[in-house]
Structure formats: structure tokens, C-alpha cells
Amino acid sequence: MRLRTEPFVLNIGPVHPSTHGVFRMRATLDGEVVVDLEPVFGYLHRGIEKLAEERTYGGVIPLTDRLDYVASVTNNLGYVLAVEKLAGISVPERAEYIRVITSEMQRIAAHLVSVGSFLNDAGAYFTPFLYMYRERENIVDLFDMVCGQRLLYSYMRIGGVSQDLPDEFLPALRKFIPRMRSRIDEYDWLLKENEILLARAKGVGVLPRETAINIGASGPVLRGSGVKWDLRKADPYSVYDRFEFDIPTGEIGDCYDRYRVRIEEMRQSLRIIEQAVKQIPPGEVRSEVPHLLRPPAGEAYAHVEGATGEVGFHVVSDGSIAPYRCHIRAPSLMNLTALKDMIVGWKVQDLILIFGSFAITMGEVDR
């Protein structure tokens, strides 16, 4: 005799004790099993694309910081590449190398936050989270040394970067790289073979390869499903074609694979930084660009590989000092399209974990 049960609606509200910002999910539960899921977002909409139409081309750069606030250097870079393509400005070589070094440092910092939050959702009581933040503190100190801020840098400028590296930057970076390598090995020792994490995350929340390609996913979500696609190799921008690195992929696209992909990407970023530090040439870091830039009328699209995926900027200009339209392709929003299919059928605790393994930043989703 089957028990007659009724599904009930649980509102996992915009303010939740888990991480990841203001995101609301209306889940229909039947006992413990999630039967239906409706994501509601838009709580962090600030109108960045509209505000960008009222600022000069140089003044949009602080706005682009606030998109994916965990990894702001790559956002700056995407916008600046789009405007440089539009106006036909070339960048000195030292600036390109500095851009690569800071982008990779930023990628390591963003992945540390994602992995720490994921493990916090899995239940380890803040310990791996704080270890990751301890390593991130080193990176943030270096950024503080270069551009004066710890989180929202606004470091890129149209035609280069804002200032040159100080003298004590490269020795500190050289000290940091072996330390970070040994720490990543230590975190593998801590949690890679942990039976409880394997039981929670292996096989849970599988994103099949075809679905991932069809919805336009990118970043670790796509690479965790087994697709070897990285913009730094597929469509190299800046000077990425001079470096040697691998693209880690997962096998089946469960939460565990996404977690492993992020850890391996940190190791590859360290490789790129090492090679860039050896090859960096002297020179100037900013080319001559008029103070109020008026690019010729037209449009340009540039994309970079951010920490969550492909960040794209479509800039349309009509010859005046402000962009006519600046549209931003947010990778977290595209990745979220598959959320319902991945979660239905699992339990409530898995919902938290699968959502945590996406590692979205609400600043990007809502803009």
C-alpha cells in the first residue's frame, strides 16, 4: 500500500545561509526528493549596461569590475580588448605580459574562492575555506602592491595597463609560486580521496556533454563534462599563444569533476605565470591614447576566458565619447540554464551542493 504524500513548495529564499549571493529557487519537494525547480534572479540588477552608455570609454572600466566581482581583472580585460579592436589601438609588449600575469593570478584567486565555497557547502566546517583564503591573501597582497586595491582593481586601461609593476613585485611572485604549488598538493592530500566527499559528489548532478554544448556553457562547467574547449587555446587573445599549458577536463560532468577541473586549472595557471615571468621584456606599459577617446562608428566583440567561463563584450560606437551600447555576455547566466535538469531527482542536500559546484557570481548573472 503506497503512502499518499503531497509535494510542497519550499522557497530557498534570496538570503540564504549558503553562499553565492542573492539567488532564489522555488523548489517543489516530495519528501526529500526535488520534483521541480524554478530559479528566480534579478535581485542584484544594477543597470550596468545602461550606465555604460552615460560614461566615457575610460569611465566604463570601473563598472566592468563590478560584474564578476570575484575575478575582476578578466572582466576589465575583455572590455578593453573590445574597445581596442574597435579603435584599432595597439598595446606595447610589456603590457601584454603584465595582462597575462595578472589574469592568471586572478584566475587562481577566483578558483580558490569557488573551491572553498564548494567545500563549505559540502559541510567541512570552514576549515578548507579558510585555508583557501589564506592562499588567496598572498595574491591579493600582490595586487595591492601593484594597483592599490584588494578586490575591484580597474587595472586595465585602453592601450595597456595603468601603471608599471613596482620593484618588489617579481621577487614576491617568485616566492609565491612554489609555495602555492606545495599548498595545492596539500589540499589534494586533504580532500581528493576523502570518502565522504566522494560519496557526496561523485555521480551527483551530471551534466551530459551534449546538453553542455547545446546550452552554450563555458568554463569549468563545460570542461568538467569532457569538452576540451578553452578560449586561450581555441581563439588566443593577447600573447597566450606563446605559452605552453594543458587544458584539464573531467570525465562525466558531475560535481566532483568540476571540483577537480578547478584544482587542475590552478596548477596550469601557475605554469603560465612562471613562463611569463621569465619572458617579460622591459618597456613601457601604456600607449598614447587620447583622453576622451572617439572611436570610429562600428561595433566589435571580444571575449576572454574568465574564471566562470567566456566573458564577452559587444561594444557599439557611434563616434561620440560614450559607447552607444555595451552588451555583456555573462557566462554564469548561460551556465545556469541547465540548473533545473541537473537538480530534479536529487535530494535537498544535493541541491545545495550542485548549485555550489556551478560557482556562479550573482553580479554577473544580474548585471
Binding site: 569611465g59 597582497d141 595591492d144 602592491m145 601603471q163 613596482p166 614576491a172 580532500l191 576523502n194 566522494l198
Partner: protein, 160 residues
């Protein structure tokens, strides 16, 4: 035959945590101990040099938020008399674009950041609050200010 998931992962994790128990703590007890911030820090205020400023208001036009308010009157030589020069630090996002835009090197970012006030009106800095003789300027975009400032304390330099 191969065994997996028999508890070795948990044991490894426990050793890592034990090793971290024996490392040094990384926190500082604010406000008794303070870390030295970077020399290029973009503090919460602006520092202004009255002699070099000509009142061209390029900084006010460059500011993305529009926090700088300048009123000038004609003066002698090639300069304006700056009557009102107000910066609303409540709206300022410390992006530093104004400092980069100044053609006469008259504007700097401030070095201090512990500038909380009790009223929102007190956050608006007026002309005489920002003189460079009274405040410390940071080395953001102006590396010549760096000698007067102490070196930054890095976490990576601390002993384990």
C-alpha cells in the same frame, strides 16, 4: 585486488589538519596591531596641491560618478582661483581615474583609510581639508611619493 574508499582518505585528511594546527596563525589583532598597507593604496580621500592646480576641472569631468564639484573665478596669470573644490567621498569609488587625468600632477590619492564619520554630511571634503601639506599622499600613479611611505607587509614574507 584493488581496494578503494576504505578510510585512507579520511586518515590523510586528518594528518593535513594536524599539520596546519602546528603552523602559525595568520590573523592580526586589530586595532592593537596594524598591518602596513601598500604604498600605492587608493585610500578613501583625495589630496590636492593648491600651488600646482590651475582649476581646469579635468578631474571633475573624468570622474565616472561625478563626485568632484569645482567652482572657480578668474585670477591672475593663467590660472583660476579655485573657490569651491568639494569631493563627496561617500559616492567616490576610489577608482583613481581623476588622479590619472590631471595634467598638472596636482591631485593624488590619499594614504589614510580609517576615515569613518558619524554623519553622512561630514563625508564631503572641502577645499581646505585636502591640502597636501596636511595629509599623506599615496604613491598611486605617482611613484615619486613612494620613498616617504613605509614598505608594505606581505603575508608571504612571514615565517611559517
Amino acid at each position: 585486488m584493488k581496494f578503494e574508499r576504505y578510510g585512507i582518505g579520511i586518515a590523510k585528511g586528518l594528518t593535513v589538519t594536524m599539520r596546519n594546527l602546528l603552523r602559525r596563525r595568520i590573523t592580526t589583532q586589530y586595532p592593537e596591531q596594524r598591518l602596513t598597507v601598500s604604498r600605492r593604496t587608493r585610500g578613501n580621500e583625495l589630496v590636492w596641491s593648491k600651488e600646482k592646480c590651475t582649476g581646469c576641472a579635468t578631474c571633475a569631468r573624468t570622474c565616472p560618478q561625478g563626485v568632484i564639484h569645482i567652482v572657480t573665478s578668474p585670477g591672475e596669470e593663467n590660472r583660476y582661483n579655485v573657490e569651491v573644490f568639494e569631493v563627496d567621498t561617500g559616492y567616490c569609488i576610489s577608482c583613481g581615474l581623476c588622479v590619472e587625468a590631471c595634467p598638472y600632477d596636482a591631485l593624488f590619492m590619499g594614504y589614510a583609510f580609517e576615515l569613518a564619520k558619524y554623519r553622512r554630511g561630514e563625508l564631503v571634503l572641502s577645499r581646505d581639508d585636502m591640502l597636501i601639506e596636511n595629509k599623506q599622499a599615496s604613491a598611486y600613479f605617482h611613484p615619486e611619493n613612494a620613498e616617504a611611505l613605509p614598505k608594505q607587509e606581505l603575508l608571504i614574507d612571514r615565517k611559517e
